[in-house]
């Protein structure tokens, strides 16, 4: 696959050794196991494959995964922008700690987040019991899944928008002020357009992460088929029933969904790069 065409530093040694190890390790750990997924999924006759991924329970699980991930990503889009703004533009005590806390969802094991969030939002939990008098059920409902995914996706939008906001030239903003634009107007017309690629990238990353998420969701979701059962959990259920082919088929569709999202991210970033150069 990797053919050496021109070596910019003909002097340096180690290409064959490092390239050899890289391809070997990549093949053993990533590519061959992923190929097993394709082979097992293809082992199912096409009609059975289609029946598997379009079964009502499976479709319902895709819908739950997609809807909750989407709404969680929307919430993170708004609050992620706000957090990035506050962290870049303002000074306040404890700012460095808040900045560090944004990364907690990356560092905290998902199972820990899962049981903690379930305890908070269960009917007898700190927040769950506040919601109960209003007939609002948070844990064991799609709302609970969404909250877990808001936690998981929090860092994405903040961390994609923050550097762009930091590097924003103040010239155009300055000009807008000189021309008499109000603060909100100059934000909407001057700053926001420059943030849109980063915002969409963060949104798509959070969305993609939510679709595949398992650990933080499985405790709070209640796992009711057709209602709060997410697609990754259904894969495990099929696996426990030794339906390997069906598990693989559901997984392939889920994987394709995340690949489409990542492809979109790549296109977005290329678009953003072009915009930056033409500006």
């Amino acid at each position: 696959m990797a053919q050496q065409t021109r070596n910019p530093s003909r002097l340096l040694p180690g290409f064959r050794l490092t390239m050899g190890f890289t391809t070997l390790y990549l093949s053993l750990v990533v590519l061959i196991p992923l190929a097993a997924l394709a082979i097992k999924s293809a082992g199912l006759p096409p009609s059975q494959w289609w029946d598997t991924v379009t079964a009502p329970r499976v479709l319902a699980s895709y819908k739950v995964s997609l809807m909750t991930s989407f709404f969680a990503a929307v919430v993170n889009l708004a609050f992620g922008l706000l957090l990035a703004w506050v962290l870049v533009r303002y000074r306040f005590p404890g700012k460095r700690i808040v900045d560090g806390l944004v990364d907690l969802p990356f560092a905290l094991p998902t199972a820990v987040a899962g049981i903690a969030l379930t305890t908070i939002y269960a009917p007898n939990g700190w927040i769950g019991q506040l919601a109960q008098p209003f007939g609002l059920k948070i844990a064991y409902s799609p709302l609970g899944i969404t909250i877990a995914l808001i936690f998981i996706g929090l860092p994405f939008v903040v961390r994609t928008v923050q550097p762009v906001l930091q590097d924003l030239e103040s010239d155009t903003e300055e000009a807008a002020v000189l021309l008499g634009a109000y603060r909100w107007r100059s934000f909407r017309r001057v700053i926001l357009p420059q943030l849109i690629p980063a915002l969409l990238t963060g949104f798509a990353l959070a969305f993609a992460r939510g679709i595949g998420e398992y650990g933080s969701v499985v405790f709070i979701s209640g796992n009711m088929p057709m209602k709060t059962e997410i697609a990754p959990l259904l894969i495990i259920t099929k696996l426990e029933q030794y339906e390997y082919g069906q598990a693989a088929a559901i997984a392939v569709v889920l994987l394709l969904l995340s690949f489409v999202l990542l492809l979109l991210i790549n296109l977005l970033q290329r678009w953003a790069g072009r915009r930056l150069h033409s500006a």
């Binding site: 460095r96 560092a107 650990g215 990754p232 495990i236 696996l239």
Partner: protein, 290 residues
């Protein structure tokens, strides 16, 4: 995706925003207030919950939960897994970064994309692929059974699944870093007569040591905390194939909440230590330009 996980510019000092380019005070305080409230609700509250639940029955039952033989076995397995997965992925990250940044070859972008691939795969699918390969009904299952080799529902499967989910961490950290540093230092050393390994140790390594450590710390946090992928391949045999996160799940499902949260508090401590180390390294890297 890993590029998002890391934020080396985070510690950068900010110049004050000029007065006429900022919001009025009430708006500013309102925005800060909403942001802080959101962080408190989404991030801080779960942390407080873990601690308050862990110590809800006092110090002695906290210690009792951690001294439980199954908890200790889970801790041992978690440490073993990280001790295998992190060095192997670091070695891979170094090799991949060397090949990618010091040489030109066709298919480089494809290789970088493939290295990133595991970040795009759901944890459950990361475990599933190994079951499909090595499980009893997997592609290699019959052959493994014939030779009495156990991978799934045993330690090797757990290590493999962990290696998969933490695969890109070190490589993603080193590739941009070594790309920025170029090849001139190494070439100078070679033309002065230094041999390959020596060039790497004396010239390259000192330049990338903080970045390498940064990648390893993130890799380690994920390796010790992984749940979904490991859950699929583990088989949940108590005292044998349970890692700390899986042990937490079992305790929680058995309504042993205090014990579950006591074990969870250990992993939360790991997360906090990771974040502190991360922010120290970020400042070091932005200060020394690498």
């Amino acid at each position: 995706m890993a590029g998002i996980v890391t934020n080396p510019g985070a510690g950068k000092a900010q110049a004050a925003v000029p007065e006429h380019l900022t919001e009025s005070r009430p708006v500013k305080y309102l925005l800060i207030g909403i942001a802080l409230l959101f962080v408190a609700l989404i991030v801080v509250l779960p942390m407080v919950t873990v601690l308050s639940q862990a110590f809800s029955k006092g110090w002695s039952s906290y210690v009792y939960a951690l001294k439980d033989p199954d908890a200790l076995a889970a801790l041992r397995l978690t440490l073993t897994t990280a001790l295998l997965a992190v060095p192997l992925n670091s070695l891979f990250g170094l090799a991949a970064a060397w090949a990618i940044t010091k040489f030109k070859f066709r298919g480089k972008n494809l290789l970088i994309t493939l290295i990133d691939l595991p970040f795009a795969v759901s944890p459950v699918i990361s475990g599933l692929i190994y079951v499909l390969l090595f499980g009893a009904q997997g592609l290699l299952g019959p052959w493994l059974q014939e030779h009495d080799i156990h991978i799934i529902f045993a330690t090797p499967g757990i290590v493999l699944a962990t290696m998969f989910v933490t695969f890109p961490f070190v490589a993603r950290e080193l590739i941009p870093l070594m790309e920025a540093q170029g090849v001139l230092d190494e070439e100078a050393a070679v033309s002065l007569g230094a041999r390959g390994w020596r060039v790497f140790r004396r010239v390259t390594l000192p330049n990338i040591k903080w970045g390498l450590l940064y990648g390893m710390i993130l890799c380690n946090a994920r390796a010790m905390g992984e749940f979904g992928a490991v859950s699929v391949v583990s088989g949940h045999i108590r005292g044998e194939t349970n890692t700390l996160p899986l042990h937490i799940e079992i305790l929680y499902n058995e309504y042993q909440f205090t014990s579950a949260f006591a074990v969870a508090s250990l992993l939360m401590l790991l997360a906090v230590v990771t974040l502190i180390a991360k922010s120290i390294l970020e400042r070091r890297m932005s200060g020394h330009g690498g």
